[in-house]
Amino acid sequence: MTVSASSQTQSTQALIGFDPQGEMPSNEVLLKMYTLMLTLRFWDERSLKLQRSGRISFCVTTKGEEATQVGTVAALRATDWVFPAYRQPGIPLWRGANLESLAHQIFGSAKDVSLGHQMPNHYSFHHLYYASVSSVIGTQIVHASGAALAAQAKGTDDVAVTYFGDGSTSANDFHSALTVAGAKKAPALFFCVNNHYAISLHVSQQTGAKYLADKGVGYGVKALRVDGNDVLAVYQTTLAMAERARRGEGPALLELVTYRLNPHSSSDDDARYRLKGEMDGWIDKDPIPRFEAFLLEKGVLSLPQVDALKIQVEADVLEATKIAQETPLPDWQTLIEGVYAEIPATLQADLDDLLAHEQGLSLPHPGAFPL
């Protein structure tokens, strides 16, 4: 028996770029987008330096992936819930978080909102509708489906969004999330940041699918492939899909095609696995120079302004990390805060016992590990 090709669903994904006829942010917003992209780049550089000099224990960067953060968040409302992975510091910064609060988190200082409970880059900004980051791959995806169901139940037209990598599409909860959102037509946007690697595994080995966006059809979820290094293409597609979701027309999966320009994290050695020559092409597509050229051409910015901005942003980043570095570690009592809303009596007793006898103890850390 021969089965004709037309009797099965086929992949037909095109890469969506910037549409000059499409919706454009105001000049003010364009400038804010550009400034944030610069900030992220300097934040990465600084974090890596801090890590290499042993002042923080670990970092993940987002170099190369700035447009996927900035293009999406600029197209969202401030009350659209965000369930991020560990590579989206741009979201809270866009929404008004200051660099200092991020710095306190990566140092796990006494001023860290999370009380030093998590490793670097695992931020939480509840008042900015940016839910606490987990290290567990994929779990956050379905949280967005839940928040979208909540919007449906409340009858608001908010959307809920989530970010995750190419590797994360293989995780259980990618499936849970799209199953729920697809079945319920929940107003959720799923941003798949395809940076081509899950640690050492190339996306071509991650799945048999031709494109990650092909994964939408199996859930009845609209899915698009977008040039993730073109911040305006990302902006326009996000806006269109968010409006569609707000109208009750259902969720969307946006594959944002980009590339990780740094190693996976400060513990990773990417020379072991990176495809030869692949990087070069992507350096040419770096989203920051691309956007910069566009803004210069459109006259939104001038070269001297660009230079001044870079100096300013770098100084801001430095200042923030300096403050955090000088802040002491949290108090021991914080060790037991936040397990429950109220501290259980037995837990307080156990800590008190420690406090009474072991103040000042500390074990040496055997050094950097691959996280």
Partner: protein, 345 residues
């Protein structure tokens, strides 16, 4: 509201019309609590597999979708991870989700969401975020359900900081504790002993009357032996104690722990310091069960009061069997013999 009620729905009629002096089943009590929560708090959402159109495989959600609509009583696709993960997202977004896992045996596909996410959110964010929710699930044996419809997985969760674990043993406790769980600022795993769903019946207040999470319940006071139990084991311990008190003239204290986590350590220690003898009865495999933790607490903090070994009556260290489950499950006679052993040491 009365006007829109479907007359065929057992629950709604029982809520409105039922005689408070007539005993009801545990499953009715749970249904009533859910109904009253949905009615009084617009943020409550009830969802799970088969909870809507069919009213739940055990009928615990009977009539709720007809009354409160499909946006608040939701039939979910077959994904426990999707159910619990959605509950998390709903809770972060300000709702009060009540998720049903059809059998506790099927909570494992959602284990990562519960243990890594739900239980850890408040701590990992230093209190910035939280996800209060209730996860309801029928658990336990005695219904000829075999390996995958009989398990008692409470100890997987009582060892997990950040989630509360609550198990009722009577219809009244089921309603009162569930109402409190719905007001808890923290996630609660509410495990329902399915063997008790339909019998025995008990008196239950019609008005919503929360019973606080935390304190254990003194089932009967005694001075020679403390028995710690919960869920379907409470009746079995009572039956054993009654028999033994009659035959041997001993005095047995029975404590129904109700809130397993965080634990009511004070009640446990007070009882053992009084009686000097302790017995734990639970359905799960003995090794690593919840009773082991109680034993460890006593051995750590009240060992000098002990007059006898601390004993555990529990399931065998095997998966749950089918043909011989009545041998496997703690039986009153087995409990009685363990009581005698401890008392006669």
């Amino acid at each position: 509201m009365n006007a829109t009620m479907t007359p065929s729905s057992q629950m709604t009629s029982s809520l409105i019309e039922r005689n408070p002096e007539t005993p009801i089943t545990m499953v009715q009590a749970i249904n009533e609590a859910l109904f009253q929560a949905l009615e009084s708090n617009p943020n409550v959402i009830v969802f799970g597999e088969d909870v809507g159109i069919s009213g739940g495989v055990f009928r615990a959600t009977e009539g709720l979708q007809a009354q409160f609509g499909e946006a608040r009583v939701i039939d979910m696709p077959l994904t426990e991870a999707g159910i619990i993960g959605s509950a998390y997202g709903m809770a972060v977004a300000g709702m009060t989700p009540v998720a049903e896992i059809q059998f506790a045996d099927y909570i494992f596909p959602a284990f990562d969401q519960i243990v890594s996410e739900v239980a850890k959110l408040r701590y990992r964010s230093g209190g910035d975020c939280a996800c209060p929710m209730v996860i309801r699930t029928p658990y336990g044996g005695g219904i000829r359900g075999g390996t995958y419809h009989s398990q008692s997985p409470e100890a997987y969760f009582t060892q997990t900081p950040g989630i509360k674990v609550v198990i009722p043993s009577t219809p009244a406790d089921a309603k009162g504790l569930l109402l409190s769980a719905l007001q808890s600022p923290d996630p609660v795993l509410f495990m329902e002993p399915k063997r008790l769903y339909r019998s025995p019946k008990g008196l239950v207040p019609v008005d919503p009357t929360p019973i606080p999470l935390g304190p254990a319940r003194l089932v009967q006071a005694g001075k020679d032996l403390s028995v710690f139990c919960y869920g379907a084991m409470v009746d079995i311990c009572q039956a054993a104690a009654t028999k033994l008190q009659e035959s041997d003239g001993v005095s047995i204290e029975i404590i129904d722990l109700r809130t397993l986590s965080p634990i009511d350590e004070a009640s446990i220690l007070a009882s053992v310091r009084k009686t000097g003898r302790a017995l734990m009865v639970y359905e799960a495999p003995k090794t690593g069960g919840y009773g082991s933790e109680i034993s460890a607490i006593i051995a750590e903090k009240a060992v000098e009061y002990l007059k006898a070994p601390i004993k555990r009556v529990a399931g065998l260290d095997t998966p749950y069997p089918y043909s011989l489950e009545s041998v496997y499950m703690p039986h009153p006679v087995r409990v009685m013999r363990a009581m005698q052993e401890v008392l006669g040491f």
